[in-house]
Amino acid sequence: MSDGALLEVSELAVAFGDLRAVRGVSLTVEKGQTLAIVGESGSGKSITSLAVMGLLPAQAKVVGGGITLDGVSLLDLAPDELRRLRGEELAMIFQDPLSALNPSLTVGYQIAEMFRRRRGASRAAANERAVEAMAEVGIPDAAGRARSYPHEFSGGMRQRIMIAMALALEPRLLIADEPTTALDVTVQAQILRLLRERQRAGLAMIIISHDLGVVARTAQSVIVMYAGQAVESGTVAEVYDAPAHPYTLGLMAASPSARTSRRGIRPIDGNPPDQAALPTGCAFHPRCPFARERCRTETPPLRRLPSGRASACHFAEEVLAHDRTAGA
């Protein structure tokens, strides 16, 4: 375990019956650092983070691996201990902000309740802290807006309220699952800035996003997931400068950018894998421009490369040497 590790996930495996949604994922989040998880839709990003939170859907089961927070195994905690941890040490912003708010209670009441229940604050003190929490995430006229119901806020405001709730009890680790995907760029910019400020104040984060630009604006390190596994990991600088896995290379080439003139975006051929019938060998091989015979038969392990980063490709060195401007 490295020095500053707050969260350690090792070889995590999660299954829905016979379907293996997460197949041996390891990751580390250091104190005050942000790790990004990127990857194809259905690759297991949300399930991995729900496992950390102890909030997996009923049909899902952790079938292998471990999760520790500050050395304490979360998988062995009693349900009420885990509940205490959530909100106080661990908090999550979900993909869909409306689903996490009670439509029939005012927003101020819902935040204040956290302070009353968790911190034993008096009604007046809790209300005051709720208004503070809303003001902190940039809601204008927070005292007045605390009396509004969730549907009276715009999507961006609701997302900020979710962030206010997640941050209210000053958790040590925040998991943000696609926190800005549904938002306009202007609102997204406000929220990313807010998260960066909290990060500077010492908050550790996992941010899940399919937008590589968003990741670059928040995270120091990144893991790339494909078909339930981490296929590449490293610092943002390492991975963005020179991807070491063909899927990452493809993802970068396929991402349109508002900042560069038509460099041409290149799609990744083929379709995302069917989690119930994964290809043999390397799960990416049917779509991979680097694939050879070996890829069809032999599963590439996630292995360390000299610089300290890791890739699960038999030909990682070749991918690294690949000139991105020349086309895959």
């Binding site: 715009s154 997204q188 910019a189 590589l212 630009g213 670059a216 950018s257 900042r259 975006i265 379709n271």
Partner: protein
Amino acid sequence: MTEQPVLELVDLVAGYRTRHGLLGKRGLVRAVDGVNLTVGAGETVCLVGESGCGKSTVARAVVNLLRPVSGEVRFAGRSLAGMDRRELRAMRREVQLVFQDPYASLNPRMTVRELITEAWRIHPGIVPRERWDAEVAELLERVGLNPAHAARYPHQFSGGQRQRICIARALSVRPRLIVCDEAVSALDVSIQAQILALLGKLRDELGVAYLFITHDLGVVRHFADRVAVMHLGKIVETGETEQIYSSPAHPYTQALISAAPSVDDWRDRGDDEIMLRGDVPSPSNPPAGCRFHTRCWKADERCHTDEPALEQRGVGHPVACHYASVDTGLKAETRPR
């Protein structure tokens, strides 16, 4: 220009009747409030802007799902309002709409073959019946689907494949214009790029024109010939794509572009992007003067009262801002935070 544009919007006003509002009076939300836009044959014009600015309302008016309050939608020079039934039928063929959610627009009980041939049943004469099988196979091939899967149902396909089915269906009537309303927004980056490549190929091979609606500025830059930036029911800036991206002159466009995170520019952490303060105003109660003035760092008295017209203001393309300038006029320390 010698060639007749496929689509012209002339002072288009469109919106929705509402009941609430002060005193429960009936009102009209002018979601689109005086839009002028032209799409030439084989051209791709992107409409971008924040959620609620009226993009889908434009799309609905173009495909005749929503009757304009005033102004005109002209298709190949003919006004929609003046068309008789026969002309409207023909028009419905030539303009196709592809939505964001491919599943919602595909009848789950119809096979892919039935979905594609549906229009041929309704409009006899497009493809003779004996050619249907061959034509279905060709269309599926064209959009990158396996022709052997024609007997399958929509749920047997992935999201990206379903969007391909929608495109195959739109193409089945040989349209001149496809209106894509957030057609790639819900897709994975890798699949989104496939669909964009497909649309680009169809443009080159068949000369289809696109009115492409999205809020994703990255997609626009890589796909559009021309861009129209929409804010609260009005177009505030328009021009050739590279013009707009390299020298945006409306403060709103400048804010949008500076706020868009980019994979190419990943070292930029966005610490000096232009941050807009405040919420987007509502189209049911738009601000007087320039509708952007509540969020604009350049706004002064004049912006509160005088509405700026969309016109040439010495920046090389039309802009609707009294103080249009390629320079944001912001020093780092005075940027709105």
